[in-house]
């Protein structure tokens, strides 16, 4: 008798008691069909985790692109600003929250002096 999808889900989320767990492990070891269904469940879980929303799809980004289209002086102004969709201000206005600007260029002068130094040696970062 094959493993049901419900049993496979319980197996996946460690909800089975020990006897049932061992029974299903044993069956999966011997049954290619149920192993294939388990693989399909794995793919389904991957698909549940695959929703993505590109930044360019966001309404605010689209409005900004429309506003800056064809205006060369706006593009020039953008060169002076450090920012991305989060919006970093130029150094003079760093601590404010400017409107979002898609970063095209960056200026070293826009980075605050207080920016922390690089993480430095390996002890400053967890080893993986």
């Amino acid at each position: 008798m094959h493993v049901t999808d419900d049993q496979l889900l319980q197996f996946e989320f460690e909800l089975l008691d020990s006897p049932n767990l061992r029974q299903i492990e044993s069956h999966l070891a011997d049954c290619a069909e149920c192993r294939a269904r388990r693989t399909r469940l794995t793919h389904e879980l991957a698909e549940l985790s695959a929703v993505r929303i590109p930044v360019d799809n966001l309404p605010r980004q689209q409005r900004q692109r429309e506003q800056s289209r064809g205006t060369s002086w706006l593009r020039a102004a953008a060169l002076l600003f450090l920012g991305f969709t989060g919006g970093f201000a130029a150094s003079m206005t760093y601590h404010q929250q400017p409107p979002s600007v898609r970063a095209q260029y960056l200026s070293a002068k826009a980075l605050p002096d207080s920016l922390p130094a690089a993480l430095g040696d390996a002890t400053a970062w967890p080893n993986f």
Binding site: L48, V51, I53, T85, G86, L106, P116, F128
Partner: protein, 189 residues
Amino acid sequence: MFQAGLHKLTEDRQLLERTYAGDAGALLALHDAHAPRLIAMALLITRCAESAEDVVQEAFVRLWREPLKRNDGTVSGWLATTVWRAACKERARRLALGGIDTIDLPDESASPDLQLIRDDRMRHVAAVIAELSFEHRECLLLRYYAERSYEEIADLLGVPIGTVKSRLYYAVQMCRQKLQARGVWEECM
């Protein structure tokens, strides 16, 4: 798959080191790598595209301003947890303003925010996740979008590990049933 994951962790670490050295392009690269997933997660919590964008942006600003410490874990994990917390706060704020639960709608297919997802199949997947109750949805998002372990989710939510597993089981079961009913996934035994 393990090697690919390790490579990603290393790449994130290198980009972060360059960020703290003053390379804003490195922060942009981190943003481009992680934002689509984080925005999707934030949208599925807040149900508002602008709020989702804001909480993700704020997470990156914070990443830049406040260097990660040794015990903050991976870049990806820190970003996801930060976005999740901010999104939940934003959701609570909007619910309080609304006075009623205007966010958890029964049918998400036509939600304008989900129209941001251009791929039909993915939009169906997002819709069934959005239709879950909040407690089931947040478990699923923490597991599969924030990539937290059962123990970490239990700690974040303040519930037993068994509860986390049960909620995940129920959430995935509901999503599967709905996607099969919609014809997106095949039915089986």
